[in-house]
């Protein structure tokens, strides 16, 4: 049968994310590159005790980070406020402003959510390692800091490196501009960020896209994430129920 990774709707796309899953959520932290509708579908699906992995733990809601004026941001808070998240792995977990805490910080202070802070480059590299079958690697990042505490370190060429392990996930929820039915993806501008390394690091990767085209509809030279890394694709409607238009 012709391969077609399209699923019918967002509810179906996330239906098998079970309690206790490790779920990566793509994007950098702003509106671009975030899988808004997959996050909302996962909220409605209701699985609990999730570990969510991403650059941020949802900083747009309190700060507007990377969102246009006048649009209410949708971010990781939809899952956190719904009590589904017990652990966060992120490089930029909290709002830049102490006076405007995000949902994660509130949950963290209440002792409800565990946190692992990972330097942004190490976070991306640990995902890439998972996707590339590398068990662990030595990075100079964080050597001699509290984020290297408890980790092995070793000298190479007179410099200290920290041993970091691959970071795998059960599911990755990512966002792309266009997919073909084989799952080849292209992104737009700076909305690429964590989506490609997450796509490779997860057992099941689900891509929320603006459009799905037939094979041949994407220039093979231009593919950012080859379809080998993608299990499901789902297209977002240009206008949501109630007339909401997402950026």
């Amino acid at each position: 049968m012709p391969i077609d990774k399209t699923v019918n709707n967002f509810a179906e796309a996330v239906s098998d994310i079970s309690d206790g899953s490790v779920v990566m959520i793509g994007g950098f932290g702003g509106a671009g590159g975030m899988p808004h509708l997959l996050m909302l579908a996962l909220r409605d699906q209701g699985s609990r005790n999730l570990t969510i992995v991403g650059n941020t733990a949802g900083i747009a809601a309190p700060t507007g980070f990377g969102w246009p004026e006048g649009v209410e941001p949708i971010d990781h808070a939809v899952l956190i406020e719904n009590g589904q998240v017990t652990k966060v792995i992120a490089s930029f977990p909290v709002s830049g402003s102490v006076s405007r805490p995000n949902a994660f910080e509130t949950g963290f202070r209440a002792g409800e959510i565990e946190l692992e802070v990972v330097p942004q480059g190490t976070l991306a590299e640990r995902m890439r390692a998972a996707g590339a079958g590398i068990a662990a690697f030595y990075t100079p990042t964080a050597a001699g800091t509290m984020l290297a505490e408890g980790k092995e370190s070793r000298m190479f060429g007179g410099r200290e490196y920290v041993l970091e392990e691959a970071l795998h996930a059960d599911f990755a929820l990512i966002r792309a501009r266009t997919a073909d039915t084989l799952g080849n993806l292209i992104y737009k501008g700076t909305s690429r960020t964590f989506n490609p390394p997450m796509a490779a690091a997860a057992r099941v990767t689900i891509a929320e896209v603006d459009e799905i085209v037939e094979p041949g509809g994407i220039d093979p030279e231009r593919v950012d994430t080859p379809g080998i890394y993608i299990q499901r694709i789902v297209v977002r409607p240009p206008v949501l129920e109630g007339g909401l238009e997402l950026p």
């Binding site: 049968m1 084989l182 080849n184 037939e214 094979p215 509809g217 030279e221 379809g227 080998i228 890394y229």
Partner: protein
């Protein structure tokens, strides 16, 4: 898919098999002709499931793409940096910028993706390739694979073989059952330097199909070529074969 009978005439009694016979120092009798390279490839192709990502090695494995069953669509992966591709290009129409890992020219199809070598092997090593078919010099009873270094030459090409051996979810070996001098290539322990340890799952040869049981469970003969039985296959094999209760003639459809 082509049936076994359709290819028998050309493949089983093909030029190559006769050529091999001329150079054999024969001390065991073949009870029947051996299968041709295309038939081995046909049998391997039966293992591919719809939607799988497949990497085909140089030699017999390359031929598999001609025999994929109808209704099965595969995503071909190549170390040369592409996912999805068409068949070999027509003679004289090769594009130097579209080759497979064997340096052969391919034809394009819709839905391809190009990438660099670091990404090509990230895919392999990261477990994103469902199945690879590889040639072999030797396979051991624990599924060790030796296919890159002939001690007599003293230098060898490893290429992507070691990465595929550890990275593909399933490794199928496609090879002649014996060397030109009838030396068994399936052995209790490989004497040639290894490509990978315990990585082979299935062996398809010109006389048999043999499963490698997990966790050092040994080898199990599951299919035989026409005219070959378990005893004659065992006599051409350098490791103990358990015989499946469902032992059957090789089927291609």
């Amino acid at each position: 898919m082509r049936s076994l009978s359709a290819v028998k005439a050309t493949s089983i009694k093909g030029e190559r098999a006769e050529g091999d016979n001329r150079t054999r120092r024969d001390n065991m009798t073949d009870p029947a002709p051996r299968l041709g390279r295309e038939v081995i490839a046909m049998r391997v192709a039966r293992e591919f499931r719809d939607g799988e990502v497949v990497n085909l090695g140089i030699g017999i494995p390359t031929l598999c793409s001609d025999f994929v069953p109808p209704g099965v669509q595969l995503m071909y992966h190549s170390e040369s940096g592409l996912l999805n591709c068409g068949p070999l290009a027509d003679e004289g129409h090769g594009d130097v910028d579209l080759i497979n890992a064997g340096g052969q020219f391919l034809s394009p199809i819709p839905g391809m993706a190009y990438f660099d070598s670091a990404e090509a092997f990230a895919m392999i090593r990261g477990g994103h390739v469902d199945v690879t078919a590889l040639g072999a010099l030797q396979v051991s009873e624990t599924g060790d694979l030796a296919n890159w270094f002939l001690p007599a030459r003293g230098v060898g090409n490893v290429g992507g073989a070691m990465d595929l051996a550890v990275g593909a979810k399933r490794v199928i070996v496609a090879m002649e059952h014996n060397g030109r001098d009838k030396t068994p290539k399936i052995v209790s322990e490989c004497s040639f330097p290894l490509t990978g340890q315990g990585c082979v799952g299935l062996i398809v040869t010109d006389i048999a199909v043999i499963e490698v049981l997990p966790e050092g469970g040994g080898l199990r003969l599951i299919e035989h070529a026409p005219g070959w039985d378990a005893a004659s296959i065992q006599s051409h094999t350098g490791a103990k074969l358990a015989v499946s209760p469902d032992l059957a003639e090789i089927t291609l459809a």
